[in-house]
């Protein structure tokens, strides 16, 4: 038998060791979408059967944002067992940071034509810009806030919760409470984020009209790139020893502590990176849907994201993204065709997945492939050589 470390990292070029079979499929699909969707929208005339209407571009862009949110959630839930029911909060905060930038770009073109204040502030009779709005006229500043604000909230929340060893259902409830508290706070007019109506009526992003066909396509491509980068970051994390420690924490937290690992630090790092990813997803979402309001903080949104991950397959990254796209496609279809049954369908889906597909769609496909591999002669001889013989030998079980 060969050495015990043959599958360790660092022997092959980084990118190759990072991405497995389903990862390549995922990257190929996202890349193809990033090229084809804008092409079929811009280059194919509207009458053609191959033309992709602009509203579909924005819709697909929205799906990709959800896919990035699901990926972020899978990093903490699938790999570290942190079931966050409040990831929508990080998504919404990233969205608000982008929304504030977009509001500042309106300038004097608002209904009240006030060069200094957004419309809702004029309406509330405010005289000057609140301090926390300063800087948001600069895109780099806003982009930084898209990462920093969700990251900082995750750092503080995570540090307090994980240091006090809050786990399981209690942690889930706390994350839920966090997003609900933010929902209530953002509803208030005096918070300075547009209250109930949120931020909308956007005009430009980086000087380009947000409504324009080309801008829509550019945003779609940007989202695809963000999704790929998010996947690569997450994949790097979970394939490194760090990721192995995360899984160890998920499966046997106290054992990991007794090995000398500071579990809370590992959890906080994962939670912060995940929150930042969710923030980026929210930031890309807002210019594509044209509005951000407090309903994005609603607990139901966060729970829906958990369902996407469960459907696609937790702990697989690719599955989380797939689940987000599939469930949202179903949602778009059903809320159009039979709006009253959507929530029942979603609930049913969750029940079915929990009962019959504990590892989601990707988990099921992996399992099927392994079953086929197990009866192949090569594995039989390997199993016999190792003195195993029985079906328990799952080679490369969690590839």
């Amino acid at each position: 038998m060969s050495g015990a470390g043959t599958n360790s990292m660092g022997r092959r070029p980084l990118l190759l060791s990072l991405i497995d079979g389903k990862g390549w499929i995922f990257l190929a699909v996202v890349a193809a979408a990033a090229v084809l969707v804008p092409l079929l929208n811009l280059a194919v005339p509207e009458g053609s059967a191959f033309h992709v209407p602009t509203y579909v571009v924005a819709l697909l862009g929205k799906y990709l944002c959800y896919a990035l949110l699901a990926l972020a959630l899978d990093l903490v839930w699938g790999y570290c067992g942190i079931l966050s029911l409040g990831h929508g909060a990080f998504f919404a905060l990233g969205g608000y940071a982008m929304g504030m930038y977009l509001m500042r770009q309106i300038g004097p073109r608002g209904v009240y034509a006030n060069p200094l204040l957004p419309d809702f502030m004029v309406f509330l009779n405010w005289k000057e810009l609140p301090w926390y709005w300063h800087g948001f006229d600069s895109f780099p500043f806003a982009a930084l806030m898209v990462l920093l604000v969700p990251g900082l909230l995750a750092l503080v929340f995570g540090w307090l919760a994980f240091r006090s060893r809050v786990t399981g259902v209690y942690l889930s409830i706390m994350t839920q409470a966090m997003t609900f508290a933010l929902l209530l706070a953002f509803f208030r007019n005096d918070m300075g984020f547009g209250g109930n109506n949120g931020l909308t009526d956007f005009k430009d992003i980086l000087g380009f009209n947000v409504q324009a066909q080309t801008t829509r396509c550019a945003l779609f491509v940007a989202t695809a790139i963000a999704l790929v980068l998010g996947y690569l970051v997450a994949r790097y994390m979970v394939t490194s020893t760090y990721g192995k420690v995360l899984v160890a924490i998920r499966d046997a937290e106290s054992r990991t502590r007794f090995l000398g690992y500071r579990v809370e630090t590992y959890k906080v790092v994962a939670f912060v990176v995940s929150a930042m990813m969710a923030g980026v997803a929210g930031a890309l979402y807002v210019p594509q849907v044209g509005i951000i309001n407090p309903s994005e903080f609603s607990p139901a949104n966060s729970i829906e994201a958990v369902i996407w991950v469960a459907v696609g397959g937790r702990g697989t990254l690719v599955g989380a993204a797939l689940g987000a796209v599939l469930v949202n496609f179903g949602k778009t279809y059903l809320t159009g065709a039979l709006p009253e049954i959507w929530l029942f369908a979603l609930g049913l889906l969750f029940v079915v997945v929990t009962l019959f597909l504990p590892k989601g769609i990707v988990g099921l496909l992996t399992q099927k492939r392994q079953q086929r591999q197990e009866i192949s002669p090569r594995d039989e001889s390997l199993a016999a050589e190792a003195g195993i013989g029985e079906a328990g030998a799952v080679e490369g079980g969690k590839a």
């Binding site: 038998m1 050495g3 015990a4 470390g5 043959t6 599958n7 360790s8 990292m9 660092g10 790097y236 994390m237 490194s240 020893t241 760090y242 192995k244 420690v245 899984v247 160890a248 499966d251 046997a252 106290s254 054992r255 990991t256 502590r257 007794f258 090995l259 000398g260 690992y261 500071r262 579990v263 630090t265 590992y266 790092v269 190792a386 003195g387 195993i388 328990g392 030998a393 799952v394 080679e395 079980g397 969690k398």
Partner: protein, 252 residues
Amino acid sequence: MIPDRGLTNTVLYLDGVSKTFDGFRAINNLALTLEHGEMRAIIGPNGAGKTTMMDIITGKTKPDEGDVYFDGTTDLTTLDEASIANLGIGRKFQKPTVFESHTVADNIRLALKDERGPWSALFGARNRIAPERIEHILEIVRLIDHHERLAADLSHGQKQWLEIGMLLAQDPKLLLVDEPVAGMTDAETADTARLLREIARDHSVVVVEHDMAFVRDLDCKVTVLHEGSVLAEGTIDAVSSNERVIEVYLGR
């Protein structure tokens, strides 16, 4: 309170330790010392406080009162699990606890003594652990042929051995081993005793066990716990002929 100078050659020093859970005195004025390089077997009926004692030493539980010193100078009652583990105290649980969704080799990889921080695990030395170090440990615990299998697929006895291997990989000064032969066949039990005697040559070891034949095999000093304090201490022959030990533990 700092223990007197004479105790600085102990690897483990417990004195006057008490711990009460909801009115139940799990540990009651317990005193125990272990010298460097010593192997000690701890026996006692259920509820005698064996596991609670392990919990106190490893930082999982804080004692209500008493001194717990490691290496003569380090006060363990002020430290958490991770710090205590990094000082060089390894623990094997009563129920074999391995990382089931990792391979056998990865279980050892995570246990190996090295930097423990997330930075190192993401970008640093933790990713460059030499396979020879893993192989060396797996050879000692005879799991080298199983290194690519998932820990979940191992037999109960193999999991126990894997956990002992993880303990060795930590290279601790003191090993706390809770019921290592529970659920093992006679042959496996004998092998485990041999393995522990081997380990005890250059480590201090505390073994908690019920299996008297196994304890006899270990061939070391025995401490009998009862109701949270030491009932008797000495060779296996001395304690098994002790009247009180027979009364409360071995049975008549």
